[in-house]
Each structure stands twice: as C-alpha cells, then as structure tokens.
Amino acid sequence: MITFMNNSDSEEEPCNERTSLMSAESPPVPSYQDGLQASEAGEAQAHRKRRAGSSRGPNNIAGGEMSGPGVPVREGILENEEEELTLKYGAKHVIMLFVPVTLCMIVVVATIKSVRFYTEKNGQLIYTPFSEDTPSVGQRLLNSVLNTIVMISVIIVMTVFLVLLYKYRCYKFIHGWLILSSLMLLFLFTYIYLGEVLKTYNVAMDYPTLFIVIWNFGAVGMICIHWKGPLQLQQAYLIMISALMALVFIKYLPEWSAWVILGAISIYDLMAVLCPKGPLRMLVETAQERNEPIFPALIYSSAMMWTVGMAKPDTAARGPSQQTWDAAEDGREHLRSPSHAESQMAETRSPVPTRPVTSLEELEEEERGVKLGLGDFIFYSVLVGKAAATASGDWNTTLACFVAILIGLCLTLLLLAVFKKALPALPISITFGLIFYFSTDNLVRPFMDTLASHQLYI
C-alpha cells in the first residue's frame, strides 16, 4: 500500500485535468480560420451551424464558424449539401464516441465482475484520508464529504499548476511529467492487473514470459501514445489505460466518497470550463491563441485529420510531437469536434492518400474527428463500475447507468453543436448516471424482483 501511495502522486496529475467538451475552436487568427474554413467547406459547414436548428442530430461542429475571409462564396452553394453531410457526420461522431466509451465500460464491468481483487477493500489512497468505517451514519457522511474536499482541492491545485506551466511554456516539464505518469500506468498497473486476472483464472505464468509480455505491451503503448502509431492501436491503448485507471479508482475509493466525488467533480468540471476564470477555460484559450492543440496527450481522438503539405508557416515549429502525446492518465480534456489542431500538423500520417494540397487553405481531411478527454472516460467507467460492483440489483442497475451515460453524452454533443465551444463532458452524463443508479437500485430493483419471481411481464 505504501508504495502504492507514493506512486500514485504522479497519477494524479492528469487526473486533475478537467475534461471538457470543446466544440469549435474559434481562434482569432485569420490564417487559422482560413484553414478551418477551407476544411469546413470541404465537408460540413460551419455557418450552417448557426442556422442549424438541429433538434436531434448533433451537428458536427467543424471548427471555426467564424465568418473569416475565406468564407464568401462557399456559403451559398455548398451549404445545403453540407447540411446533410453535417448531420450524417454529426450522428457518426456520436457513434464514434459511443463505441470507445462502451468498450471502456465493458472492460471495466467485465473485470469487476470476474476479478475479485477490485472489489476488496485494501486500503485507501492518500488523497482520501478519512476512513469510512465509522459506526454512525452522520460521521460517515462527514468523512466522505471531507474526503471529497481533499480530493477536489488536490485536483484544483494540480490543474492550476498545469495551466501555469502551460502558460509559461514549460513544455519540457509537462512532457516529462506526462511521460513519467504514462510509464507508470502502462507498466505498473498493467502488471498488477495481469497478475490479478491470472490469479482469478488460475493460470500460471512464469516471470520471463510475464516480463516479455508486459515489456512489449508497455513499450508499444508508449510509442503509440506519445509518438506515432496506427490510430486504432492508439485508441485501443487509450481505452485500456482509462479502464485501468478507472479500476484503480473503483478499488481505492471508499463507497460514499466515490459517489460524492463523482458529483463534486461534475460540478467542478462545469465551473472550470464555463467560468471565465476557470483553469480549463484558460487552458483552452491559451491553446487557441497559440494555435496549438491542447495536449493531444490527454485526449482521445476519434479520427485523425490527415493533411498533406500544409503550407502554414507556423506549423513548422509544431512538429510531430503533437499528434500523440498521451496522457495516459487522465487528462480530462476538451471535447472538440474538429480536430483542428491536428490539422495544423504537417504530418502525413495516414496511409490513405489525400489529394495533394496546394493552397494554404485546403485541408484534406479524411474524417473530422471528435475528441473527448480521457478523464471523461475514466469517470464514466468509474460510475458504471461502481454500479456493477456495489449494486445489489446487479445487471439492471449497470445497464441503466450505461444507458443514462450514453444519453448524457448524446445530449452533451447536441449542446456542443449548439454552443460551439468547449463544454464540460461530465456534468450531464454523470448527473443522469447518478440519478439512475440511485433510483434503479432502490426503486426499480424490488419491483423487478417481485415481478420476476412471479414471472410477470410488463
């Protein structure tokens, strides 16, 4: 436990990044806008968005909808075609996010159900110092609230620290930090996880094999996440990492504290992203000003923008590092619809050939992606995992929470379409999830049990 606690500090960093959903980047830089405009014209429109009174289809907000210089003619003709594309893309993007979130949750739930290690209480993290084993309800409540306060303040401090570092351009430090934490996550946690799974299924594995397996897994993971790698592999790694982190949280957070923390974090997320002085908002704005992507490391992106020959002078500096720094830990970041940042990259990542780009404004994109912060994944999975672990209604509750979270995600994306700026991804989903968890556990379960015992159907 002790070692665990020591190690866990580095894990906290990313934990602290808030996650938010970011829709369109609306950078004030003209060239940037041009690029964005161009990209938009290519696929979906931006302006449409304004008009898009989309009731259901979450629109794919592609980047800046600013009426920049490059916009002129496009509007008229392309608009209509793009509308439909937009909608289709919109729905597509929602699905692109559904799938990884679902996968992550499935992994977490499967592990919780089968491996008993994660439901045993073996102690607590140092961030939740108050124990919940107290006899009285009031005391327990108090302790959990105190735990939450401690945790949230740690998160706030870390986030502010990170934002400051970013502001003062201490990139190397941030890089190093992220690499260290992802290293730890990839190796240590995987080792523990694998150990527990093998124990559960009573499979013997000798140390050399274990070493080779973990080494390969970790090394490939590091490369994939922090450097280049096939998109799907990177996504798979990010999902694995989120699941691991969520499992750790589920194991080490005491019961009531976990729920209160989930609630508090969604409130914090809301504030941090929407308030003008919020750290996350500052992070986003700073990144926009500098035309940099916000820590691609800490976010999950569902598609890559493949650009060939970007003729933007300022992108030269960015270099390849952007694509994939990964914050294995939770960077709860911003959800952005257009990965405009990637668009800045003059990387020809993909094997898919794109038309040779000649003008400054043409951005070839294979697909516009949506981005969601890893922290979002983690907390969603924590919610569902806890539901699976502790609910007595078992699968019903888990299923209910799952649907609730997906709907929350849908709604959030819808709002993204409407508001077109960074939005917190947590609050709506977590609120729905919490409501459904508590109500299903207490209300629906007795009802369904009674029905099932009489074999009645409704």
């Binding site: 449409r48 989309s54 289809g57 009802f447 074999q455």
Partner: protein, 232 residues
Amino acid sequence: PAFSLFIFTIARDPLRIIILIAGAFFWLVSLLLSSLIWFIAVKASDPQDERLQKGLLIFGVMFSVLLQEAFRFLYYKLLRKAIEGLVALSEDGCSPISIQQMAYVAGVGFGLMSGAFSMINLLADALGPGTVGIHGDSQLYFLTSAFMTMVLIFLHTFWGILFFHGCEHRRWWEIAAVVIMHLTVSGLSFRNPLYVGSLVPSYLLMAAAAAWAYLLSGGSAQNLRRFLLCKC
C-alpha cells in the same frame, strides 16, 4: 433474435443507433416512474397482507403498462420534432430517415430494454450453480422466460410501428388497440405458472401484430410470396 435484428438493421446507420438508445432511455424512465409509484404504494400499505400485495402488484403492472405507452407517445412527439429539424437541414427536403424507420427503431429500443431488464438477472444467475424448479416451481422457468421475453421484444417492435402509424394518421383506434394488446399480454402473464395460458395467446397476438404492422408498412401478400420464393 432481437440482438441479430439490431445488428443487421440498426448498427449500420448511426442515426438509428442514437434513436435506439434514446428509445431505451425512455422505456427506462417509464419503468422508473412506475416502480416509484409501486414502491410508494407498497410502503404505504400493510406488508403482511398477501392478497393486498398481489393486488398492488397487479396494479403496479397495469400502471406500468400505461406509463410505457404514455412514454411511447412522448417519444413519438419528440421524434416528430426531430424529423422536422432533419428535414429542414437536409438538402433535398426529405429527411434521411423516415418516420417508419424511426418507429421501427423506437420499437426495438423499447423492446430491447424491456427484454434486457427482464432477462439479464436471470441469465446471470443461470451461470451459477443450482437446479431449476427445485421448490416445486415449474422446471421450464428459464425456457419460458426466454420465450416470453422474446415475444415481448418483438411485440414492442410491432407496437412501435403500429403506434406511430396510428399517431401519424390520427387513427385513435389503432393506438387504443396497441394499449389494449399490451395490457392483455401483461395480464396473460399473470397466469404464468400455467404456461399454456400465457405463452400461446401471446404468440398469437404477436403474429397478429406482426401481420398488421407488415401490412401497414406497405407490404402485401404478394411481396411476401416473392420474397420467400426466390429473389429474382
């Protein structure tokens, strides 16, 4: 079978998936509300009285059915608005998904959710040790549950189509028919240990609903024959 329906018809189009999940959500909310009512009723009544409990249960079930249909209606309204939005956005004035497809997907959503809720705990327990019906209950418990669930899922799908069609064309009797059918099926399940009583009529009703829905969606005996005989 329901799952394969899902894979073949819905998984392709993302919009349908969203509608599906939303449908499931609506069913869930209706379930929540109805169990809330039931819970309150139970707490407010005497737990010792067997007959009262049973009566309350029946009341709860009926109420839940009514609520489900009400939510289906609400969902219909929402989808109507959505279609208008989609039409406004699309280029050639027609929406990428028709109201009938939506009806189908909504029905499947409801059905899947209700089926999942009915079956999943059963399945989980089935993995564990134990013998069915050891206390004198029917030994066919699992089997009948499975069939009943399947029939219910299909029924929900058909009801979805019928219901939406009724709403579209303002034929109130269609809607009433759906509600009555739902009530009937639930009522039939009350006679459950007597499986003949519940399963067979349910299947018959399902066949009727299927035929009706098929006809409504524009099929005809001719189409059917052509499809079955050969695909030439």
